[in-house]
Symmetry: C2
Subunit: 213 residues, 2 copies
């Protein structure tokens, strides 16, 4: 089973490569591991192993059928039914993310946003109703929300996470610059921009090759 976060992230990446491919060559209905590898920035062996884990097989000398491959990836990583998201903290970054995902067709649906600012509460921002943070406990279960996106200032991030977890979400995407403490069964991805920027700056001066994917 390729069920590590790394492999899931790579599969998610592979999935959108056929679109790139077909933008260049609309005829193409199959693709080699080394072509996917080149576009994904990983090794061909890595691609083959990830795809192997899907249970899908390509054909030697021909590669992978893009349609079948895409379907296999979707079957593996997409939820059976659409999954609901919530975003907490409708500031600059939160709004940018809402715009970013606005209209993106996907199995992930932005169901609600939350903020403490009375100016924002009650309004609809980027097509999404803004609730007061105090309503998390009510709205999250009511909407069946399973994932929370945290874009509040650092001092409020942990309490926001606590509320979301308490309300039942199973995963968090955290943009606040601190490590969230959550129960073991809750999955967190930390999008720590400051840390990543410092890491880039470090290696920018030292000429090290980038890591995977």
């Amino acid at each position: 089973m390729a069920e590590s976060p790394r492999s899931i992230a790579r599969l998610s990446l592979y999935r959108r490569l056929p679109a790139e491919l077909q933008a260049e060559d609309p005829e193409a209905d199959s693709v080699y591991s080394h072509e996917l590898a080149r576009r994904a920035g990983v090794s061909p062996a890595q691609v083959r192993r990830d795809i192997m884990a899907l249970g899908y097989s390509g054909t030697p000398n021909t590669g992978y059928q893009v349609e079948a491959l895409t379907a296999s990836i979707a079957a593996h990583i997409d939820p059976a039914t659409p999954q609901q998201l919530a975003l907490v903290g409708v500031g600059n970054l939160g709004t940018a993310l809402l715009q970013y995902f606005r209209g993106r067709q996907s199995k992930l649906h932005m169901a609600a946003t939350f903020d403490t600012d009375p100016e924002k509460v009650g309004r609809t921002i980027a097509g999404c109703r803004c609730h007061p943070v105090s309503a998390i406990g009510e709205v999250v279960p009511a909407e069946g929300i399973t994932v929370g996106i945290i874009t509040v200032p650092a001092p409020h991030a942990q309490e926001t996470a606590d509320r979301l977890v308490q309300a039942g979400v199973g995963g968090l995407l955290n943009f606040a610059p601190l490590h969230l403490r959550v129960p073991d069964q809750v999955y967190v991805e930390h999008m720590d921009i400051a840390i990543r920027l410092e890491t880039v700056a470090f290696f920018a001066l030292r000429g090290r090759q980038s890591p995977r994917g």
Copy 2:
């Protein structure tokens, strides 16, 4: 030498933990590996090994002196002289990032922004002058910029990266949802929000424990 991207990222994280710590207990001038570990979400052994690589040593039974530790981390990961950054793509996300880093004191300085929109070019956004993208080749060397942040739409991300690399940057922080192809000596961090969100959504339904970091 703990010079992997992972270890650099962790050091960057450890560095801001003393501030958290001292906010709770202003008296504290030393800290144990297990305390740092708890706050960073890693194991105590990992903390000790990362710090070992700095050349700094704590004292048994007392832990690490926060001031000396912070200084050691800074000496290891900060540039000797301030490093200049550029951001390309002053849209919602780009502006949010500019605001986010506005006023943050650091060895990293936002020296220029670039956009193609004539409405934005020439203006000062979040305290930073906006140049036309066509000026990258001129401004980047002139300002000594070493890191580029890419927040342009996906279709323009690769050409943006090419321009920045051509102009001499050594590292890129990419927010566009695709893998950038750059020469080996250029370091890239991919902040692929869509992929990370899909990964969270996947594990939110499966209750897997988060990875470290």
